[in-house]
Amino acid sequence: MADYTPQIDSQIAQLLKLRGVVTPDMISGVSEQDANSFLRMYVGQHADEQLAFDGTSLTAGIPTLAEEPAPQAATTGIPIDADPGYGVPPPGGYGAPPPAGYEAPQPEGHTGYTPDLAPPEEPSGWLWLLPIVFGWIGGIIAWAVAKNTNSRIARNMLVTGIAISVLAACMVFGLGFCSATASAPTDTSWPATGRVTFYYFGTPS
């Protein structure tokens, strides 16, 4: 049997460092039986390194983790039971109020919800009479009055005034056109008097 020399020790250490696992066939110059013995000796020589040799290969041992404490709720101290599984209702039932003194955790920097936007105010309903009665002029006045209160309603008032003005113009034009066409001369023939005649239809003054 070959002697376990410092050279063999450093060879094993180097192989373990490079490859993480050392098998007997990696040790050169010795038989497999001797190499197997050398690996056992190495473990004994380096007991503080937590090595593991299972008879065929030498590996560096994995340190075991310390056990973690059981998780608990941060604010109430109520221990959290093991996962009861899906479908199992909470002890207090769904919708039950939280325990007394329970304070829901909030993310850092969060100061609570405070709505910044108040519900939009509505301008006076009487303001709608302006665009309805005075058309686009009333619409502009109503818009100017309501724009600071509710811009959407102010714009609607302006559009309403313009629309009413356009509608009124169409009606006036349409009625005038109809009147003109209805009064189109049906008889374009004039009496032949033998002289040029000037006809005047008007008022006495």
Binding site: T186, G194, F198, F201, P204
Partner: protein
């Protein structure tokens, strides 16, 4: 407009005949006649040649010079 027409009548009475209707709204027959000739607004004036063909039509106030030009052209 009536005074203008009166002045023109004085000037052109030898060349033209003038048919002046100032009771369009009071006389039914005149109103009907005006409607037949397509009179919608007053004053409305027409210039008709000897054969009864309408040469020109004016609605509303018209400059005296314009009427004179039309008279001179129709009845030189």
């Amino acid at each position: 407009m009536k005074p203008v027409v009166d002045g023109l009548q004085t000037s052109y009475s030898d060349k033209l005949d003038f048919a002046i209707y100032t009771n369009v709204n009071s006389e039914q027959s005149v109103s009907q006649f005006a409607d037949d000739k397509g009179v919608v607004y007053v004053p409305t004036m027409m210039l008709v040649n000897a054969e009864g063909v309408e040469l020109s039509r004016w609605v509303g106030a018209v400059a005296e010079g314009e009427l004179k030009m039309a008279f001179d052209e129709a009845a030189p």
